[in-house]
């Protein structure tokens, strides 16, 4: 029984678009340093083409296997050649950002910042949230990063709670809304809804079955999703996809948050299990499965990634639940022993300034939190549209509880129990 299994299988991968870190999770023995070296070698090899590649990446599919998609060197707004692999990367760059945030989302903002500060050599590295934390904890006294950005709010909070974060004083940071930061150490940089994505054709089919004129009316909320699973189980069998909370930290966080919203979440889990839902560990994998037509509906995806992906795939529709929508906020902090703490603080200060936030709203889907930024792409806009439905995941010690070893095991055993529960109505189909 899964419920009796020690919770060692729990992994924190992040919610990147690709699934190659899902492979990482399956191969825990792989050397991180080796991978880093490989990254640098790849970066050197492909650097002459990096600009073309980066331009292509904005339009074409994001390929996480290419190292230039995971690491970026910038100076004066132009990508530059990475230094020799044996040189110390943290010394070659004036500002090193380690993040669990896919490059396509942040690249325009990095370019803009680099243009404004041409004297600085900027180095951006994208990692899985778990990898990010593990790399930091390997040598917390000699960190390579000047700024740590991660979507795994719990992990970031745990590091800050242990005192790894530097207290920051910059003016925009001090003015940042109190509920979007923790002390003056941990700052929320984004406002990302957790959404559902469905294929338009599947929605149309389901709408026809119910006699609804607007296909969108089929799926507007969590309750609609549960209703579909209950009523159209045979049509949807095997065509639902979601996070596996046992393998994905983000998936686990969303599951815990869902469960805290309503106890009916467990009936949803049970319904998904009875519909033989597929479980994967990244948003990217879900989007790929949708695009290839393998599944019809994906549940709990990272909003910005889904929106960006759906732009390139018009057959997909992003559904923001109307009853409640979870909001995740990427948290950033400057490590205590950062090589250039003032550079990290300056970048964060720029990001949280009005100018930076306007850029965030216009150039990305990350969501601008600044109270004065309005319109498309801002948290204010989302609040106006969804009102009370917004459920931001609180930045607080409650996050520590979700990271508790026993808590995770308890939750997962319950989750597996519900997911694998035999169907009361159709017991013969439950195999």
């Amino acid at each position: 029984m899964l419920a009796r299994r020690p919770p060692t299988g729990q992994q924190h991968s992040d919610n990147r678009c690709s699934d190659h870190h899902g492979h990482d999770n399956h191969r825990p023995g792989r050397q991180r340093s080796g991978r880093l070296t490989a990254c640098l070698v790849l970066a050197v090899l492909v650097s002459p083409f990096s600009q073309a590649a980066s331009r292509a990446a904005t339009q074409a599919a994001f390929d996480p296997l290419l190292e230039e998609h995971q690491s970026l060197w910038l100076q004066g707004g132009q990508p530059v050649t990475a230094p020799a692999p044996d040189s110390d990367a943290s010394h070659a760059a004036d500002l090193t950002i380690h993040a669990a945030l896919d490059l396509p989302e942040i690249r325009p903002l990095l370019l803009r910042y680099s243009r404004q500060h041409p004297e600085r050599v900027l180095h951006y590295v994208n990692r899985s949230a778990l990898g990010l934390e593990a790399q930091y904890l390997q040598a917390p006294l000699t960190p390579q990063a000047d700024l740590m950005i991660s979507s795994a709010m719990g992990l970031q909070y745990r590091l800050a709670n242990q005192g790894h974060a530097l207290a920051l004083e910059a003016p925009n940071l001090a003015a940042w809304p109190a509920n979007s930061r923790w002390r003056n150490e941990l700052y929320a940089m984004s406002f990302e809804p957790i959404v559902m994505v469905a294929r338009r054709d599947a929605l149309k089919r389901l709408a026809d079955l119910d006699g609804l004129r607007n296909p969108r009316d089929v799926l507007r909320s969590h309750r609609d999703f549960w209703h579909l699973l209950e009523t159209r189980r045979e049509q949807l069998r095997g065509r639902i996809i979601s996070y596996d909370p046992r393998r994905s930290g983000s998936g686990f966080t969303y599951a815990v948050s869902d469960a805290r919203q309503s106890p009916r979440y467990w009936t949803l889990v049970r319904a998904m299990g009875q519909a033989d839902a597929r479980l994967v560990s990244t948003t990217g994998a879900m989007l790929e499965a949708l695009a290839s037509g393998e599944v019809d509906i994906a549940y709990n995806l990272v909003g910005p990634y889904a929106v960006t992906f759906a732009r390139a795939h018009p057959e997909l529709v992003v559904i923001v639940p109307e009853d409640y929508v979870l909001i995740q906020r990427r948290l950033a902090f400057v490590p205590q022993q950062a090589p250039h703490p003032e550079a990290g603080e300056a970048f964060l200060d720029w990001w949280l300034s009005l100018e930076g936030q306007q850029a965030v709203a216009s150039d990305s889907q990350l969501g601008a939190l600044h109270p004065e930024v309005r319109g498309e792409g801002s948290a204010q806009h989302m609040r106006e549209q969804l009102g009370d439905a917004l459920r931001p995941i609180e930045i607080g010690p409650g996050l520590l509880a979700t990271l508790d070893r026993l808590k995770q095991a308890s939750f997962l055993s319950r989750w597996v129990l519900e997911f694998e529960a035999p169907s009361a109505t159709q017991p013969e189909l439950n195999q």
Binding site: N161, Q162, P397, L400, D404, L406
Partner: protein, 574 residues
């Protein structure tokens, strides 16, 4: 006169500590110390209050977590309630730590390894009463990985019942958070009491300043009253003052009263003296005038004789005034040296013998044989001689026929005859007394005769004398200075002067049983002698303190032996 003394007190006030400042420092320094003490106490109690308030949060969190601890899958199990940690974060967004430890001290879960609050090496322990059900609660400040934390721990055991050994298993829950919230609350509480204390201190300062100024204002009034007085005025101070200053005022008034008396005495003395001098001078003038009217040279001769007698009397009076003035001047006193009294007495007697003889007075000298030549005392020779001469002169003038100078030693207290303590004070002293068989003085008047210019002209004492021979009396009568001079000399010698009735010639050592003053310096008190009725003659005695003989004279003891044979040297009839 106001301008002259004013600069002096000001400069002195600058040099010495002012009473105002002294009072202020005595009041304000303890106030300051008390204030500091109160501040420390306020801070401690503020911290304690903050700790108590926030410890309730720790306790609530511990209890909330403890409710979720159970036995599952063969181990201690905890379904950590997020609210338990969120309540620890408080408004100050504290860092939060927790840990669950089993009976063996192994960490079951937690985000850090927290120490046992009961056994933590550092920090102060705040033991709490155990909550019946929950187990042992304790709180402690610890330093943990460079942070100051408040640690709370709950040691308890699993509930349940039955044979299963896991029931009743011990475990410990520990939670900790940073102290920012507590420190903020402490600061708020402390600043509140700081404001109250500052207000109280300001008030106290004002009250002390005003109070001291008000309390010292009578002193200023007194000073002003003294300064504004006429410098010649000796009138008593008359202004309302507080009790403490009232005493000072009384003392000053007493001093003024004494000065008034002294001045009155001086004025009277001067008046008496001028009166005394004016009378013989007027007599001289009258004699001369009378003689000038006559043409007979024999009448001139008689007048000149009378004028000469009057002039010598006046000269004697002037001498006495001079010596009295010298004696009464306390600043010019000749030093006292050792001298031998028997020799002095002999010299005096032999000097005065002829004069007495001429006046028809029998002058005698009695010296106890055992002290002849050994009666040493500290004194001024001319003064003692003067005193004796005055006494003998006095006796002659007051109609004595026989005058005896006696030197003896007062009996020691071992003699049963002297029981009074006053006599004991005189024991062992030399007694130099002059005894006469004159009319004597009433016991109640004896004090008065020591005053200058007092004339013993009462009818009861000299009832027969005026009738006798007015001229002779007038001639014999002194100016009334003799006894006053003797009194002054006695005072300078720390001797005691006693006046008593002359009893019998043989009873030389008759002490004065009625003398009662406390010290030997001042005696003149031979009053209320019981045998005043049989008053006959007068005995004036000087009691002088003995002293050791000087070294050189110790060897010449034979002198006293040779002089010791006759008790009475001058017993011849006048």
């Amino acid at each position: 006169m106001n301008s002259a003394p004013s600069p002096r007190p000001q400069t002195e006030a600058k040099r010495s500590i002012s009473l105002y400042r002294r009072l202020l420092s005595w009041l304000l320094l303890p106030l300051l110390a008390l204030g500091t003490l109160l501040l420390v106490q306020a801070f401690l109690s503020a911290r304690e209050a903050a700790d108590r308030a926030y410890d309730r949060l720790l306790e609530a969190s511990l209890v909330t977590i403890a409710e979720q601890v159970k036995w599952q899958d063969g181990q201690l199990w905890l379904d950590l309630p997020p609210a338990a940690l969120e309540m620890l974060a408080t408004d100050a967004q504290e860092r939060v730590f927790y840990s669950l430890v089993d009976a063996d001290g192994e960490q079951v879960t937690g985000n850090t390894h927290l120490p046992d609050a009961n056994r933590a090496a550092n920090g102060r322990l705040a033991p709490q009463e155990s909550l019946g059900r929950s187990g042992e609660l304790s709180f402690r400040d610890i330093a943990w990985q460079g942070q100051a934390l408040r640690l709370g721990s709950l040691d308890t055991r699993l509930g349940g019942w039955g044979d299963d050994p896991r029931h009743g298993q011990r475990y410990s829950i520990r939670v900790a958070h940073t102290r920012e919230g507590r420190d903020t609350l402490t600061r708020e509480l402390f600043s509140g009491s700081l404001v109250r204390l500052a207000g109280m201190a300001t008030l106290a300062l004002l009250v002390v300043l005003i109070g001291v100024r008000l309390a010292l204002s009578p002193l200023t009034r007194l000073r002003r009253a003294i300064r504004e007085r006429d410098s010649r005025s000796l009138a008593p101070l008359n202004l309302p003052l507080p009790r403490e200053l009232e005493e000072l005022k009384h003392t000053i008034n007493d001093l003024l009263a004494r000065m008034r008396r002294v001045r009155a005495n001086q004025e009277r003395f001067i008046g008496d003296a001028s009166h005394q001098l004016r009378t013989p001078l007027a007599g001289l003038s009258a004699h001369a005038e009378l003689a000038l009217r006559q043409q007979d040279p024999s009448a001139w001769h008689a007048a000149l004789g009378q004028m000469q007698a009057t002039a010598s009397h006046t000269a004697h009076l002037a001498n006495q005034l001079l010596s009295l003035t010298r004696l009464n001047n306390p600043e010019v006193q000749p030093p006292r040296v050792p001298l031998e009294l028997s020799a002095l007495a002999r010299a005096t007697v032999s000097r005065l013998f002829l004069r007495c003889d001429r006046a028809g007075v029998d002058l005698g000298l009695e010296i106890a044989p055992d002290i002849d030549g050994a009666a040493w005392t500290l004194g001024v020779e001319w003064q003692l001689e003067e005193a004796l001469a005055n006494l003998i002169d006095n006796a002659c003038k007051h109609g004595a026929r026989t005058v005896t100078l006696t030197l003896s030693r007062m009996a020691t207290p071992s003699d049963a005859t002297f029981t009074q303590s006053d006599s004991a004070a005189l024991a062992g002293r030399w007694r130099l007394s002059v005894e006469d068989d004159g009319p004597g003085i009433d016991a109640e008047r004896r004090l008065l005769v020591l005053r200058p210019f007092h004339r013993n002209t009462q009818p009861d004492s000299h009832d027969q004398a005026p009738a006798q021979q007015p001229d002779e009396l007038k001639h014999h009568e002194g100016a009334g200075l003799g006894l006053a001079i003797v009194d002054g000399i006695a005072r300078h010698h720390d001797a005691r002067l006693t006046l008593s009735d002359a009893t019998a010639r043989s009873m030389t050592q008759a002490a004065d049983p009625a003398s009662r003053t406390d010290d030997a310096t001042r005696a003149a008190d031979a009053d209320d002698a019981d045998e005043t009725g049989a008053s006959c003659g007068l005995c004036v005695s000087l009691h002088l303190a003995p002293c050791a003989a000087p070294e050189v004279r110790v060897g010449g003891d034979d002198e006293s032996a040779q002089a010791g044979k006759p008790a009475k040297t001058g017993g011849t009839a006048c």
